[in-house]
């Protein structure tokens, strides 16, 4: 199977990523400011003003980040039919964008469940990860394709900026690898649209239980081991 053609339409994805990067910086900056600024020690007019500005920046930035969320359901399949074998690695136009949008939204939900919502997710990196798969990596069993994609997502740094506090929510502090494993496991699960979020939560919890195994396979780039873990658990999400 040949690689998909690049989408010739104007590319909004890097712009979305740039705005999300701004959001990430503002959120982190806001958190830092709130952590370090002695707002409660300022006289009343100043403390209200300073607090309001910081909160407003956070709200504006949060709105930017939700742009892609609505695309996720479309990207990962809508309707009532069960999603099975949903790794739609076709050569059709725009497949890489659908994949990236879906991965972005799913990672955001996983990070929320891991209590690390401020970790930065790059949709552009997800697209690059998809496009960088070799033709022979696009063939075979779902678990094999998922393993190749997982390693590609890690290499492309689809997740960035996890703080020590974020990482501490996952055994072995492997929050990035565990989050990617959870999303790729979820993509392989058999589920209806109504079960999407419950299945993603279950995939996240399963990933946490086998975090050490998943992380070891990813760190050592052991694709067969990663594929075996997907094959073992995809039917049990």
């Amino acid at each position: 199977m040949r690689n998909p053609l690049p989408n010739p339409l104007p590319d909004a994805m890097p712009l979305r990523d740039a705005l999300r990067g701004l959001r990430h910086a503002v959120r982190r900056g806001g958190e830092t400011l709130l952590d370090v600024m002695p707002l409660n020690q300022l006289p009343p007019p100043a403390t209200h003003l300073a607090g309001a500005v910081i909160r407003e920046m956070g709200v504006l930035a949060k709105g930017v980040g939700e742009v892609a969320s609505d695309f996720a359901r479309i990207a990962l399949g809508g309707g009532d039919a069960p999603h099975s074998a949903p790794l739609k690695l076709t050569a059709r136009l725009g497949a890489e964008d659908e994949f990236a949008q879906g991965i972005y939204a799913a990672l955001r939900l996983v990070l929320q469940r891991l209590d690390a919502p401020s970790v930065y997710v790059s949709e552009t990196a997800a697209r690059m990860a998809y496009l960088s798969l070799l033709p022979d990596q696009r063939q075979g069993q779902d678990a094999d394709i998922a393993a190749a994609l997982s390693l590609s997502l890690v290499e492309a740094k689809v997740l960035r900026g996890a703080s020590a506090q974020d990482a501490a929510h996952v055994p072995g502090r492997a929050i990035e690898n565990v989050a990617i494993f959870a999303v790729m496991l979820w993509l392989q699960s058999n589920r209806h649209e109504a079960e999407d979020e419950a299945a993603l939560a279950s995939a996240t919890d399963l990933a946490l239980v086998i975090a050490a195994e998943a992380d070891a396979a990813i760190v050592s780039r052991d694709s067969p081991k990663l594929s075996a873990l997907y094959a073992e658990f995809a039917a049990h999400v």
Binding site: E195, A199, S202, L208, H236, V237
Partner: protein, 198 residues
């Protein structure tokens, strides 16, 4: 032998065979939560569930079931019973429940009052097992009268704390069997095969 208390209706509906659904994390968790709520209402107590423990229990149970799965389809019926015992083993090995108050609607000498957490887990395993057996084999399992005997529950709690494998034997006893107490968590068909090997 008698029928289980009628709480099977508290299990979530599914379009899949129960033997498939119970091996999906999302159904297992929903079923456990719903059942614990229902049995808590019946005995008059509120339980708190540790989700992380429950997820780890589920994974250990999956792997245990898979590792001893018999190849002969004739053993499926027996293995369903054994798998329910393995589920109880994993639940008692790292109890995911805490009763936040003593049961207010149960008799003082009842199993629910004696060990509310162990009672809820045991009844969950029996109920899921019963529903699966009914679906797969049109068979409605009966439970032994020993389920009402507090001495068995005392022995269960005491022994399960020393070794969770005892839980498998306890559940099989409730289902009217005489377990192999030396190795209760080794599927007896496999054990038999291995003993016959030179």
């Amino acid at each position: 032998m008698s029928e289980l208390p009628p709480l099977s209706g508290s299990l979530p509906s599914t379009n899949e065979p129960l033997r498939i659904a119970v091996r999906r994390m999302r159904w297992f968790r929903a079923a456990f939560e719903a059942y614990v709520k229902a049995i808590g209402d019946r005995v008059g107590c509120t339980y708190q569930i540790d989700d992380a423990k429950l997820a780890a229990i589920f994974v250990r149970w999956l792997r245990a079931v898979e590792s001893q799965k018999p190849s002969n389809r004739q053993d499926r019926h027996d293995y369903f019973e054994f798998a329910a015992g393995l589920m109880l083993r994993e639940l008692t090995a790292d109890m995911p429940l805490v009763a936040l108050s003593p049961p207010s609607k149960s008799a003082a000498d009842s199993a629910a009052t004696f060990w509310p957490e162990g009672y809820a887990c045991t009844m969950f395993c029996l109920t899921v097992h019963s529903a699966a057996m009914e679906h797969e084999f049109q068979d409605k399992p009966q439970v032994s009268p020993v389920i009402e005997d507090l001495r068995h529950w005392w022995s269960f709690k005491e022994n399960a704390q020393m070794g969770a494998s005892f839980s498998v034997g306890f559940l099989l006893t409730l289902l009217g069997h005489q377990p192999n107490w030396m190795m209760p968590d080794v599927f007896r068909v496999r054990l038999s095969d291995e003993l016959q090997q030179p």
